[in-house]
C-alpha cells in the first residue's frame, strides 16, 4: 500500500501539472517553437565560426554547433534543479494552495519533490527535442554508445544540482525572496562552466575555479559520451567528482531545507509571500 502511494502521489502531481500546462495551449506549443528558434540561432552562429575551428574544440569533435547544442540542452537541468523547488514553493505561496497541500498527511519533502517532477520530465523532453532537432534537422552527429554512462552522469548531475536547489528553497521559505545562491551559481556556471565555450579558453588563473562547479564536470562527461562516443571508463573521473558533489550537496541541501521549514513553522511564515 505504501509503495503504491509512493508512486501514485507523484503521478497525481504530474497529472495536475500536465492538465494545468495544457490548459494554456498556446504557451505549451510555444515552448517547443522556442527550442527550435534557439537551436536555429546557434546553428547560424556555428556556421559563422564553423570554418575556423579553434584548437580548443578539437577534443569535442571540432563542431561548434554540436558543442553548444549539448551545452545549452543540458544546462536546462541546472536551471530547473536550481529553480524548481523554490519556484514551486513560491508559486504555491502566491497561488494560495500551499496551506491546502501542507495540511494533508503527505510529507513536505514528498510534496516538494513531486511538485518538481513535471519540470524535470518536461526538461528531459525539451533536451530530447533539442537533440532531435540537432540530429535530424541540423545534421549533428551524436553517439549513443554508452547510454548507461550517460544515465549515471545525468542522474549524478541532477542530484548535485538538486542539493543547491534545496538551499534556494530553504532561502525562499525563510526570506520570501529570490535566493542569491541561485544567482551566483547560475552566473558562475554560465561564465565558467563550459556551456557556450570550452573551459580551456578561460585564462589559466580562472580555470581552477570552473572545476569547483558541478556543471563543468557534467558537461565535460556528457560531451565526451555524446560527441566523441567515449566509453564509460573515459568518464569515470567525472563520475567520481559528481558523486562527491551529490554526496555533499544533497544532504546539506536537505538539512538546510528542513531547517528552513522548521524556522518558517516556528515563525508562522510558512504560507506568507
Amino acid at each position: 500500500m505504501q509503495i503504491n502511494q509512493a508512486v501514485l502521489k507523484p503521478v497525481s502531481f504530474l497529472i495536475r501539472d500536465f492538465l494545468i500546462d495544457v490548459s494554456y495551449r498556446f504557451n505549451f506549443v510555444l515552448q517547443f517553437g522556442g527550442i527550435f528558434i534557439s537551436t536555429l540561432m546557434f546553428f547560424f552562429l556555428s556556421r559563422l565560426i564553423g570554418s575556423g575551428v579553434s584548437d580548443q574544440l578539437l577534443p569535442y569533435g571540432g563542431d561548434y554547433f554540436a558543442f553548444v547544442l549539448v551545452g545549452i540542452a543540458f544546462t536546462d537541468y541546472l536551471s530547473v534543479s536550481l529553480s524548481s523547488f523554490s519556484s514551486q514553493i513560491r508559486s504555491a505561496q502566491m497561488m494560495g494552495t500551499l496551506e491546502a497541500l501542507l495540511v494533508t498527511p503527505t510529507s513536505v519533502p514528498a510534496i516538494l519533490f513531486s511538485s518538481s517532477l513535471y519540470n524535470f520530465i518536461f526538461t528531459s523532453l525539451r533536451i530530447i527535442v533539442y537533440m532531435v532537432f540537432g540530429v535530424f534537422i541540423f545534421g549533428v552527429r551524436l553517439h549513443f554508445t554508452s547510454l548507461t554512462a550517460l544515465a549515471v552522469i545525468i542522474a549524478l548531475t541532477i542530484l548535485s544540482f538538486i542539493g543547491i536547489g534545496l538551499f534556494s528553497a530553504a532561502f525562499i521559505i525563510i526570506f520570501k525572496q529570490g535566493s542569491p545562491i541561485n544567482w551566483v551559481i547560475s552566473i558562475a556556471s554560465g561564465l565558467l562552466g563550459g556551456v557556450l565555450y570550452p573551459v580551456s579558453v578561460l585564462p589559466s588563473w580562472l580555470q581552477p575555479y570552473s572545476y569547483l562547479l558541478p556543471i563543468t564536470h557534467a558537461l565535460e562527461a556528457i560531451r565526451q559520451l555524446l560527441l566523441n562516443g567515449a566509453p564509460f571508463a573515459a568518464v569515470y573521473k567525472q563520475v567520481l567528482i559528481l558523486s562527491l558533489f551529490a554526496g555533499i550537496l544533497l544532504p546539506l541541501g536537505l538539512m538546510a531545507f528542513g531547517y528552513g521549514l522548521k524556522m518558517a513553522k516556528k515563525e508562522g511564515s510558512l504560507i506568507h509571500y
Partner: protein, 325 residues
C-alpha cells in the same frame, strides 16, 4: 469527558525578520499572537472561536492544523500531540479556509478533489466512491466537471468542505467559512454544517468567526478570544450569565415627555416614537418593573408592552471585550 481537542497555555509570538535584523542588528519586531490559551473541545460538538480581527483565532486554527508551531504550552488533537505527532494530527483534521485560491482554478472540481484525495492517501475505487459521496453531500455532483474558476463563491466554499472531508476526519477546522458568502449561501453552509456534518456524521467542528449572530446560531459552546487570550468560554447560557446582573427591559408607553419618565426613576434608552407610542429600553432589576408600571399608570400613561430584552451574544461580547481592555 472525552475531549477531541485540548489546549493548555498555548503561547505564540511572531518575530519579524529581515535583512536589517540579521545584518544590521536592528531590533526584531515581535507580536504576541497568543497568550496562554487553554480550551477543550468535546467530541461531536460545534465549538465557536469568537474574536475581533487580529484576536488570534486564525493563529490558533493554524496551530491546530500543524501549520504553525506554538512557542509554549501543550496541545493535542484526538490524543495526538500537536508538535511531536503532527503527521498523525493531520490525519484527524480537515481544514476549511476562506481562501478560494487554495484550489487549482484551471482544473474542474472533481479533478481538484482527485488530486487532494491522493494526498490524503486515497486511491482507486475507494477514492472514486469517497469523491462521489462528498460531491453528493455538498450538492456539487452536477457541477463536478465544471472548471473551479466557474464556481460561485458558495460552490467554492462547499468544495472546500468536500476537500476537508476527504479523509473522513474527526475534526473540521472552519476558519471564517462564511466570510465571502451572501446570506443565502451562508445559511446553506450553516445548515450543512449543523444538520449534516455535526448531527448526522458526528463531526467535531471548530467554527472560527467574528460574526456573533452566526456563532449564536451554529455553536453549542464557544470561547471569546481577545488580544491572544481566552477571556470567556462555555455554552451560550453561561456566557449570557456572565453579564446577567444587568437586565434591560423593552417598554412601549403612551407618548409623553421624557422628564415624566425620569421623575419616576426611568432613564429611557434607545427611544423611538412609533404610532403614538414611545418605545424605549430601560436598565433595571426585575423587582423595579411593577413599581415603574404602577407609577406610569398613576400618571395617566398607559403601558402597552413591557418585556425583558433577551441578552444577545453581541452584548456579552462587547461587555467582555471592553472589560478585558
Amino acid at each position: 469527558m472525552s475531549y477531541t481537542v485540548e489546549l493548555k497555555d498555548i503561547t505564540k509570538v511572531f518575530i519579524e525578520r529581515s535583512w536589517g535584523t540579521l545584518l544590521l542588528r536592528r531590533p526584531i519586531r515581535k507580536t504576541e499572537a497568543l497568550r496562554g490559551v487553554s480550551l477543550s473541545v468535546e467530541r461531536g460538538e460545534i465549538f465557536g472561536l469568537l474574536g475581533p480581527n487580529g484576536a488570534g483565532k486564525t493563529t490558533l486554527i493554524k496551530i491546530l492544523a500543524t501549520l504553525i508551531l506554538p512557542d509554549g504550552g501543550s496541545g493535542s488533537v484526538c490524543g495526538y500531540d500537536l508538535c511531536s505527532q503532527s503527521s498523525r494530527v493531520r490525519r484527524m483534521i480537515g481544514l476549511v479556509n476562506t481562501s478560494e485560491r487554495s484550489f487549482y482554478w484551471r482544473l474542474t472540481g472533481k479533478q481538484n478533489l482527485n488530486f487532494f484525495a491522493m494526498l490524503y492517501n486515497l486511491s482507486g475505487v475507494q477514492k472514486k466512491k469517497r469523491i462521489d459521496e462528498l460531491l453528493e453531500l455538498v450538492g456539487l455532483n452536477e457541477k463536478a466537471d465544471t472548471l473551479f474558476m466557474k464556481y460561485s463563491d458558495g460552490q467554492k466554499q462547499r468544495l472546500a468542505i468536500a476537500r476537508a472531508l476527504l479523509s473522513d476526519p474527526e475534526i473540521l477546522l472552519m476558519d471564517e467559512p462564511t466570510k465571502s458568502l451572501d446570506p443565502l449561501a451562508a445559511s446553506a453552509l450553516i445548515d450543512l454544517t449543523v444538520n449534516e456534518l455535526a448531527s448526522k456524521k458526528g463531526k467535531t467542528v471548530l467554527w472560527c468567526t467574528h460574526n456573533l449572530k452566526e456563532a449564536e446560531k451554529v455553536c453549542s459552546r464557544l470561547a471569546i478570544i481577545h488580544k491572544g487570550k481566552v477571556i470567556a468560554s462555555g455554552d451560550l447560557q453561561h456566557m449570557k450569565s456572565l453579564i446577567a446582573t444587568e437586565s434591560f427591559y423593552q417598554m412601549s408607553v403612551d407618548n409623553c415627555p421624557i422628564e415624566k419618565l425620569q421623575k419616576i426613576g426611568i432613564t429611557p434608552l434607545r427611544r423611538i416614537h412609533n404610532n403614538g407610542h414611545l418605545e424605549f429600553e430601560v436598565k433595571a432589576q426585575g423587582k423595579d418593573i411593577p413599581l415603574f408600571i404602577k407609577d406610569l399608570v398613576g400618571m395617566g400613561i398607559n403601558v402597552h408592552a413591557c418585556k425583558e430584552k433577551p441578552v444577545e451574544l453581541d452584548e456579552v461580547f462587547e461587555k467582555l471585550v471592553s472589560h478585558a481592555d
